[in-house]
């Protein structure tokens, strides 16, 4: 097992595999299938300052080798998460990466403060794909200045490391990565979903009530791999890679692209055991290859 250990800021992971935010709730459902202690970490479902119902249904639609979702950040609000969800998670030794969302800088700051002070999470993951209501709906993640400002403000209130989760819906993701790095980010998560749409030809209307949704799953993997490699070339920040992982080969591909750990989202819906399966298969693959450490895999990708 030691060969799989990864130490990232705030996250001492016994292996590099975690479920991705929003695809694993707060762990309760998957704990019925396996012991969450096996996971490298757990990225929690997004928390916002106030409780949110989220969008109307349908909230999901299937697309070729992918799916759209527009859950709309449904969550009970950060206070309830800290008081009702995190205590249950404390029974596990697995570090928690708390996903933070909001529609204005103040929301993020409030939420981050509460989570950081809770003493129950190991690091924060800023979901900067949300539209900034004050700036007229431009997503924080698409404007380097907004992204940097948000990072700075959250870093100022957080005692724990802050990962910024980048949106792929941008012309140049490296610019955003560099902006949040300068602003003090401790790491990057990438990628979030690509904005997509599916129209029901029987009704003529978008299949998702919210009209657009976020595209995830294998379909987006080539875009994730490209963006991670682009960003890895320009920054030393640790990268948690995600986007379409369903197999151990995919996990390895992310390491070769430059990721330091990976998150698995959509695949949990297909196979609830996917995370423990990938952990086991990764270990077997490394053994078969004679690799002693994940560094050996990364070196093969050209990263020392």
């Amino acid at each position: 097992m030691t060969a799989l250990r990864v130490e990232l800021p705030g996250l001492d992971m016994k292996n590099p595999i975690m479920p991705a935010s929003g695809c694993f709730g707060f762990g309760e459902e998957y704990a019925k299938f396996y012991d969450l202690n096996v996971l490298g970490a757990i990225a929690l479902k997004a928390a916002t300052h106030k409780p949110r119902f989220g969008n109307e249904t349908p909230r999901v639609a299937e697309t070729p080798a992918g799916m759209l979702n527009a859950i709309g950040l449904q969550n009970p609000g950060v206070e309830k998460i800290v008081s009702e969800k995190l205590p249950w998670l404390e029974q596990f030794e697995t570090p928690l990466l708390a996903n933070v969302a909001g529609s204005q800088v103040e929301d993020y700051v409030e939420t981050a403060t509460v989570l950081s002070q809770s003493g129950k999470v190991a690091a924060l993951e800023l979901n900067i794909s949300c539209p900034n209501v004050k700036e007229g709906g431009i997503a924080f993640g698409t404007d380097p200045d907004l992204a940097a400002e948000l990072t700075r403000r959250v870093k100022a209130v957080s005692d724990i490391p802050v990962y910024v989760k980048l949106s792929p819906n941008v012309t140049d993701i490296v610019v955003i990565a560099q902006a949040v790095e300068k602003a003090g980010a401790d790491g990057l998560s990438m990628i979030n979903t690509l904005t997509g749409m599916k129209i029901d030809i029987n009704t003529g209307r978008p299949l998702i009530a919210n009209e657009t949704g976020g595209l995830s799953g294998p379909a987006i993997k080539p875009i994730a791999i490209r963006m991670i490699r682009e960003v890895r070339r320009q920054t030393e920040l640790p990268i948690i890679g995600m986007g379409g992982i369903t197999s151990v080969e995919d996990v390895i591909e992310f390491f070769l692209a430059g990721a330091d750990a990976v998150a698995v989202g959509t695949a949990n819906f297909i196979n609830p055991y996917i995370c423990p399966t990938l952990i086991k298969e990764l270990e077997e693959w490394m053994e078969a290859k004679g690799y002693h450490h994940l560094r050996d895999v990364k070196r093969k990708g050209g990263w020392a």
Binding site: C23, V60, E62, F269
Partner: protein, 258 residues
């Protein structure tokens, strides 16, 4: 709740594009109540990607046998319909909360209303209610005669009436037309079918006791992704919700907003 490769037994087309399939495996032994469902992976390739929710129609615990009935609709159900006996399918189940038959007493008049592929989960419900010595009446609605199935099967539990949209068999119109026409009265009402049907029932019988089963697009099927939530009736906060996959798919009348 378990993920397992179940073995396909007999499969046959019992009506136009409607297939009945037997599945064997230990999931069958875990079924607790009628109305629970399976989340079935139609393919091991990456396309189609997601599982499909399909209700359990009938359980034979000793034989570890489940019966499902589904309509060949899109890619997933077409792949399923093309399975042959001996094939295996990756199944997650049993999922969700079904119909609480304990609330029914001997002698109760129970009306069961099914529309289209909403009919299958009602089969084991009717059987259970009959066993509890309720007086079961069933009303089934279909598009047309070709799409009709299980009307004979339900006759072993009580009287059965049928409606078809085009009138090709039974009463022309909707299930609500049959109930009115035949002047059916009941102590308890159980229903599964398209939302407009459920809404019409809720409107016509605002005091109904019993429950309904909902269909909605799902992701995980186990309560983790929040794809399948619905609003709660009379919730002032606007934040209250139920997950169809894990709180439902069966809900008491007037619990959730249709």
């Amino acid at each position: 709740m378990k993920k397992e490769h179940m073995t396909v037994g007999a499969i046959r087309e019992i009506a136009h594009r409607i297939y009945e399939m037997k599945l064997f495996g230990t999931i069958a032994t875990e079924v607790k109540m009628p109305g629970q469902f399976l989340h079935i992976l139609p393919s091991h390739q990456l396309q189609p990607l997601l599982r499909r929710p399909i209700s359990i129609s009938h359980v034979n615990q000793e034989e570890k046998e489940l019966t499902i009935v589904f309509r060949r609709e899109g890619e997933g159900t077409t792949l399923l319909a093309n399975k042959t006996p001996g094939d295996t399918v990756d199944v997650l189940g049993p999922l969700g909360n079904g119909f609480q038959v304990e609330e029914v007493s001997a002698g109760d008049s129970v009306l069961i209303v099914g529309g289209g592929v909403g009919v299958p989960p009602l089969y084991d419900l009717a059987r259970a209610l009959k066993e509890r010595e309720a007086n079961v009446t069933t009303v089934l609605g279909f598009e047309n005669k070709e799409a009709m199935f299980y009307e004979k099967a339900f006759q072993s539990f009580g009287e059965v009436f049928v409606s078809t949209v085009d009138g090709s068999i039974g009463t022309k119109g909707f299930v609500t037309d049959v109930i009115q026409e035949k002047n059916i009265s009941f102590d308890r009402l159980y229903a599964c079918g398209p939302v407009p049907m459920l809404k019409a029932l809720e409107t016509n019988y605002p005091e109904a006791v019993g429950s309904l089963s909902l269909e909605i697009r799902m992701g995980c099927g186990i309560g983790a992704c929040f794809a399948c939530v619905c609003h709660v009736q009379g919730d002032a906060s606007g934040h209250d919700y139920r997950k169809v996959c894990s709180d439902g798919p069966v809900f008491p009348w007037r619990e959730v907003v249709l």
